[in-house]
Amino acid sequence: MKSNVGKLLSTAAIAATLSTAANAATLDDVKSKGFIQCGVSQGVPGFSNADSEGNWTGIDVDACRAAAAAVFGDAQKVKFTPLSAKERFTALQSGEIDVLARNTTWTYTRDSSLGLDFTAVNFYDGQGFMARKDLGVESALDLDGATVCTEQGTTTELNMADFFRKHKLSYVPVVVQKADEALAAYASGRCDVFTTDKSGLAAHRSKLANPADHMILPETISKEPLGPVVRHGDNQWKDIVTWAMFVQVNAEEMGITSDNVSKIKSETNDPGIARLLGKEGDMGAQLGLPADWAYNVIAQVGNYGEVFERNVGPSTPVGLPRGINNLWTEGGVMYAPPVR
């Protein structure tokens, strides 16, 4: 009920904001209120998850923290709004949040007709299936006649339909409003398999009572480039969120970490690094940011590799290999345009 009422209210809010004033520049807005309002998930470990004290961590959370470090020189100046998949776009369109960093897939329709702009990709993912080991399924192609649980309002819902149609397999779809209830339905045996992005599968598996009883099937049935999203039409704000991500990738490539960044800044005679860290020139002004914005991002949030390892890397409960998300120089596809 609550979420439906919330939805109605936020639609009323969209209608109200859209039918009165045009949108002000998000950067001015953010500066005047003193923090970034960041839309995140309701709990996907490694991406956006709150601990018992309400501290948010995750790769998506760090995308918002990087933007805050760039704008305010303080990565803590972020407030979080947990959103279900179906609530997220309305929340961004209506101006309830400034950035949506909620394992959201960049797709054509979302980019072209939802009034949204995707910034950069902070995780290259693909959709997969999770099943109980004792089900005896080896491959997704064995799933003819299976019951499948997933969350509503996702690309997952559509990919799943495409996959079963393409392979002429029958299935029973159980599409639940919230991820936690979708997972509970899977755990209770309502469904044979649970499907979402593979990163999400790993994250959700870590929430189950006996993670070892469940396996992730080998197939990857879609491309899911995930990344932060902003409102369409505010180019400056889009650039800020995009480049806060790009400098982290560039920093990793240059071997700059949160530990060594201040030492490198004082000692370097590499003009590229000097430019990046704001020692030379004034790259910040072009985006309406302080000269040392990139320095702050790296010092406070870290480079992309650090963010990955800390949140979803092999040493975390989510335990994902770096794989395709490695730098292009290391065999992955993480590649950022140069800062110049």
């Binding site: 009920m1 209608a15 039918s19 009165t20 369109q93 045996g189």
Partner: protein
Amino acid sequence: MSDKTIPSNKSPLNDAGTRALIFQIVLLAVVVFVGYYLFSNLQANLADQGISTGFGFLNQPAGFPVLIHLIDYTEADTYGRAFIVALINTVVISLMGIVLATVIGVVMGLARLSNNWLVARLATVYVETLRNIPLLLQMFFWYFAVLATLPHPRNSIIFADFFLNKRGIYSPNPIFQEGFGVVIAGFILSIIASIALIVWAKKRQTRTGVWFPAYWASLGVIAVITFLALAVSGFPIEFDLPQKSRFNVTGGMVLPPEFVAVLVALSTYTGAFIAEIVRAGILSVNWGQTEAARSLGLKDSLTQRLIVLPQALRVIIPPLTSQFLNLAKNSSLGAAIAYPELVAVVMGTTLNQTGQAIENIGLCMLVYGTLSLTISIFMNWYNKKMSLMER
């Protein structure tokens, strides 16, 4: 004389009626203008932000599946058809909920008034518990705590050709063969015959006072004629039987747990409120009426049916109408446990895939508005009909 002085006061502006009319026109103009201003601004800003508008999406393929569809539906169908599927699901669960909640409410309301201490106490416990627990929680309870504890499909509880497991109740699905038209014709005929029988019995009773069990008799008439039609046409029904498959039970007809959980939760919850309404209605009928009926020698059951209930109904119907409206709107909570009703399919999936919040929410508001109005109109008509019996 007066004719000369008064005309100055008779300027149309001083006439109350004219003035009111002018104010109405001005107000209307302001409303139209503000509405137009907001609407055109909305259009312009939506275009600025690159958000699609219009209802064109209803003709686009939906691409998503829907668990329960009473008309044919596949992923290749349009958003428009998905909307109809969801609409039917909302209407079906609401109507079934209303019927069940009324039955439960009447039984529990009467039970609370029962002279049997245990029955009355149990009914009280029922009402007080269900009324005071949020409905959403009750849906979760039925879905996750009750239905999910049924056995896995592998270990289904099997009774003849019926299967029961945590994925639903499976039963044989009748498939009508050629010649079934005869059976339908027979059925319709039997209904007409029963109506005639009831009318005749009523008339005769008013005339001669002799009572005839017309309702029971007409049930018999329907059963016999329909059976004869079946026999004559050679039982033109085949059954698609459910059977075990690798993951699930397939074939047959299935009642998924999402449907059962929403229906049970809606009807038991609303039933608790209706029980109180029924109790209040019955208590509002003066005890003297019952005493009078008894002194005329009427049996207790007849006293209730002929004397007390018709009078109680007049008190019961108005609040009952609000309960029915609540139930229809509360069916939207089914979205939380995957029952594909309007909010789930339209405000959930469709809105999210198309991004057209205003159109989709508008559609939902239209449907709930129409549904509520229809229920209200029907209940108002019924209310009028009942109050006319007052003498």
